[in-house]
Symmetry: D3
Subunit: 308 residues, 6 copies
């Protein structure tokens, strides 16, 4: 027989009730997204910091357990560079894109598949079965060579078609799919694919409800210098106005284009989250106070009237 600790239940009942309140706050969000697909683009600091990595995995596993159908699409640029160095391959970039010759592609594929399987292991330690595949499996990501301003930069791929069957089958069979952004062309050659592009294409093909980018920024700023100008929610039209007005520049520009494409292809809500905040996914999805920037359809209902 076990007895209650002395002091009884009532001693720290305040804490307990606060806990219950958090769970109850999550209730409508769990309900809203029940059985919906959410694609998580996993990259940046959240992939480097071991503590953050563990928390992202916890978040995704929780999403799965409460009824979502999460899909992870991961990057791996930093590790590719590290390994290229290790085997004596010089990293060269053109317009920010890695020039990917045959040996570079070989090492990139090896590194990305290794990251892929490491994520599978981490997820499975939490009791959920995962399956790691690349865009080559089941002809998931098909591509052609991407030119950079007309210049051949090697095996860098532009996605031409997505066959999501292998992912949907894994989900149907209760596995959590983890995807490495490698594509293939009609001759079976491998291509490095930008992970943001891959996530966006997969979200579209799998008719995801949500697409969340874990980034190293707090979100989208109207004025990057003014920390009070962080945008909570923005419609496609508003975003396109900002782009055409020249407000959005740099690395955020292609990402925002991806967001807009995803919304236009039927994804309901795209989130740019700050992957440096622990449990940013949980906080965005399960609490009234959202985090980062949400891109939504022009006609969508807005959440953030007061707080969310």
């Amino acid at each position: 027989m076990t007895y209650q600790n002395e002091g009884g239940i009532n001693a720290n009942m305040t804490d307990e009730l606060a806990k219950a309140a958090v769970l109850v706050e999550a209730l409508p969000y769990i309900q809203k997204f029940n059985r919906k697909i959410i694609v998580v683009k996993y990259g940046g600091s959240a992939m480097v910091d071991e503590d953050l990595k563990k928390k992202v995995i916890q978040d995704v596993v929780l999403l799965k357990l409460v009824g979502f159908k999460p899909i992870i699409v991961h990057g791996g640029g930093k590790d590719i560079t590290k390994w290229a160095d290790k085997v004596g391959i010089e990293t060269r970039k053109v317009n920010g894109l890695r020039v990917t010759d045959e040996p570079t592609m070989e090492i990139a594929e090896m590194v990305l598949n290794k990251i892929n399987k490491d994520l599978v292991s981490l997820i499975q330690l939490l009791g959920i079965k995962a399956c790691g595949i690349s865009g080559k499996d089941g002809k998931l990501l098909n591509c052609t060579k991407k030119l950079s301003d007309g210049q051949d930069i090697g095996y860098v791929g532009d996605i031409t078609s997505v066959d999501g069957k292998v992912i949907m089958d894994l989900i149907e069979n209760d596995f959590l799919p983890v995807i490495a952004p490698i594509g293939t062309d009609e001759e079976g050659h491998s291509y490095n694919i930008n992970a943001d592009d891959a996530a966006c294409a997969i979200a579209t093909a799998c008719q995801a409800e949500k697409l969340a980018f874990l980034t190293d920024t707090e979100g989208l700023y109207l004025d990057f210098e003014d920390k009070n100008s962080l945008i909570s929610e923005i419609s496609v039209k508003e975003a396109e106005d900002l782009i055409s007005g020249g407000t959005i520049v740099g690395g955020m520009l292609p990402k925002l284009h991806n967001c807009i494409d995803a919304i236009k292809s039927g994804v309901s809500r795209v989130h740019i989250l700050d992957g440096r905040i622990p449990h940013c996914l949980l906080l965005e999805i399960f609490t009234n106070k959202g985090i980062g920037t949400a891109i939504i359809d022009d006609n969508a209902e807005r959440f953030y009237n007061n707080d969310k």
Copy 2:
């Protein structure tokens, strides 16, 4: 466009991280009981106090949303007495059992079905579909007349068999079943059935993982006078020893017998919870610190080594 509140994310980040911690704490419990059936015997103060009632419903709905398959079995004694008074039927008890003549049974059935449909409405306001049935539907609860020390006390039933198909079909079709404790005999007559008995029989027939009784006590005390003697966890054998030793008396005795029967019939864990504590179900199931008393199999692993 919507901007983040001034002060930014970081202002109350501490609160947010605490919220995330609660959700993460719930993770292993969500996983453990995923797709398992839990029968909640709903009665006592938690049925009378409107605020408590709302919180019980929230809890059950949350259980369903995160993947449990909850079944509610409710009582209604107080309302039956109230309505019997209203139509001029005198309430008479023998050995604590309501003498249930034809007119009493008629009003009892009407009252229980009304409570049943009210609960359905409350659940559905939270976005979950429910279906309220009685033990007559689908021949769920079949019974014979119960005698009290050999004395005929009218239409009070002893459950003789349970056909859980109607419940399992509702669960399969994604409805939350709400059950009124009315049985029927071979001639089709209605019987009042003790709600604890009904919950126990249904938990057994549906092979529930858990059976939780919402009561008006804090749980089982070794010494009812000593508030520090509240038992957190007790095995069937230990409980039978307490009973044979004369420690357990009064209304707790039949309830404990029900608990023991349920465990012996394959329910893994039976909880006696204090329904007067708001969100007692959530706290018991989703936090490390359990509430009330758990009855378990003699060979079951114990949770409450340290806190739970």
Copy 3:
């Protein structure tokens, strides 16, 4: 060993052959409506007279056994009045509609649910499993407050939408659904709904092949005074002409409107039957000589050329 009664088979072979003839006569009708849904609005004398009640139940059970999918929608006005009296609630009507304040609605819901479960028991005594629900379960009947000439008459509902999933699931799982005409609004409050309206809405939502009203009239008369003017079959257009010509008045008017609505919504054939004739359902459906009045689509083939 058992021997044939003396006199042998041939003694009463004539009777036996007549029996076979009846069964053979039923053959094309059984075939025609195999696996089709038929909604039976059960009300009037057939609910009061115990012998008639038993025969209605037998008929519906037979319909189910030979392959139909029957749904019962019942009324209960007389019992509601009786119980309102018993608890001291005065019954008040405006334009023939019961003014339904909170206490009246409370007793109405209790009475209707009791009738509902009694029917379930009667059906189950014949070996068929039934399940009794109200329009609140599974959000079956959703409504708003009905005004009577602009006047608030309390919780009397106008059906705004029907979600037939709970019924279709019960049918799929081989239960005979029995429906009490209670609706619910968005706040979860209960409403009394006219049983004819409920039957018509459910027949439409479940894409019933037939809708049969058990009434206390022989059917529709062209001239109510002339007993030879009973109409066997009438098209929607003909019925609308009768209405606009002022031939149809009184309680038959809203019922005929319901019939017309049902036909226009896709029900193939609506029957106004005389519930005072024993086995009127069987006779209408399984014999060449129909009973009562059938309302049909303008383009439908007519049965009653000669006899049916």
Copy 4:
């Protein structure tokens, strides 16, 4: 608009109510055998008389429509003899068995398949889809050569195994199977099989609830000379006693052995019916007064206490 015939409903209401009574009488039998398989061995006079043939087909179709799963196994001896004559083959019998040389088997197979397809047509005229196969299709009836007192009598088969899959698939797909009693050996040669044997083997393989033989006798007599000694119901043990006592002789002997085998293999009830009585199947199955002789298990409940 169509009016009721003059004289109104009430004129011949007595007849109508009698009809209803017949349908209601059938109700428990419909319920009892719902979704059960019944094998009808169709032969004798009922195959020759066109009016009887039509009525047997009506009966079987009605059985199917009210929820049974009937299978027809037919004979065809008379037509085989007729066609053998027509092509100049002499019919020769040894111990009552047709000596079946190659040309005889050829014509027998042709004749039986023709009868088979004729039955299919007759059934389909009543709106039910049928499919006619022989025991060769899907390796339904596998056999070896039967010897008659050690004498080779040609292609007469002893059933060695039955593969009922082709029948069960047809039933599952809602076809009424009609079976010609032709078997095949391991070399693929055709064999003539006694239709009683085939019916018995198929009833066993398909786990039929009932097996009914349409014969040219009224049933089993204790004393064939005494028309009052017709046995209504007899257990296997009683039947075996009659056989060992020498009471049963002639053509009834192998048929009774078949009945006993079927009961011992799990068929619940075997009927020897007088196929010369119109609608004998309906009368046996749907009326309280059975016809012919039923063979039942020693421990089965007896129907014929009073009348049935």
Copy 5:
């Protein structure tokens, strides 16, 4: 233990590698037609010569084993004539069509069903389950009387509708369907149907990918006298031009019309094969060098650029 034959593997490795090459050559064709339906019209010499018959059956069984879904439609004209002679019926033709009076139809049906079951046996000897039906079963082939230049020639049928359900069900249940070309009218009478017509109608109804006619010609010649003018591949338009140009005459004309109809109804490719060549089906389908003449859609890709 068993040892390799002396001389070892290498002795006849050349032969073995040639075998592997054949299998590898078949690979793309197996893949291309995987799970597609192919209707084989089986007739002519290939039905008469026992060795050819065996090889056709082997071919069809192989088609089934490697993933095709073959359907056999067979003729039987020669056997009908033989049997008509045997029973003393004079065979009379009008415009090449057999005048089919009642006795002729009777014998024709018997003969076709016999051929049908013989084919079933032959197939089953190779380990595949088959089921032989006629166009009467499951109301597969429905027809009206065909007139020949306005002249009544008896029970010769023109197909009016096809209900392929019985075939599709058999395929679904893994049986190989074998079809006798007998149809039925609304009164259930049997009709003789031209087997080419039947094959064409069935291929259309079952949405076959291929339809192959086994004939006694090498294929379609541009100039029948010039053996070098055999056409390998011809589009519908080209074929229609040949017909309107008068190039195609005689028995090939109706067959070519059938081919054209089938292509226009959605069959992808129709083959006129020389049934006198052993394994002509295998050679056509699994080798690079096709056989006979293929009729294709005007827009279809051509196979026979070089060899196939």
Copy 6:
């Protein structure tokens, strides 16, 4: 229009008929193993030589197309050594096992996953969808550290359990699974697993009918020096006798133990094939003359009486 090549069909008809003969020869083997699982351990020269590699892939694809369910388990030792050199890791072996420290395991996992995805691409070029996974995915291969004579040799794994669900799901969804021999322990660490062990464990877990090892030997020799002593077929008992008699030594010993284990666990037939022979899989499986050595159960029927 396309014409047949000059010279006509008959010119090289001999060749064509020989082709047909090969296909017909394959027929019984296709039938025998239809829908059966075959695990192919792919390694040795057949992985190095590009032409052999292509032929192995063709064979496996053909197996899949004709109805088998193949699973590829591959090795990769040579490539691991090559890459280890490239990144400056010294390869060290103890008792023939690679000492696998953390950096070695890291490069091994990268190399094996790369080989894995390359195979996926090659298969998919032939039109079949494949999915490449490692033993970490879906917790397929679980292991503990293997000691070599008690010595810690790093992350070399002994398989402790296999969860074949991920493979069976892929097969069910029509993907060809390609497996890299990497396992995981309870902490999620990766382990190098011997590919023969992995193939054997997977064949057992998936209840494979066949397990085929592609090796660099011709099979099992009774006397390795005597090329005429190659064993075609050997039972488990005979193999165990050879082992205990000391006849089998070297690298063949653990492989033979694997074969014996597989047979004892329910695999019907294990083949040791010479991967250096082009299309060795096809030749073994589809031709009468087998190749290499087959290990079979003591009670199994022997194939190689005469030739196979």
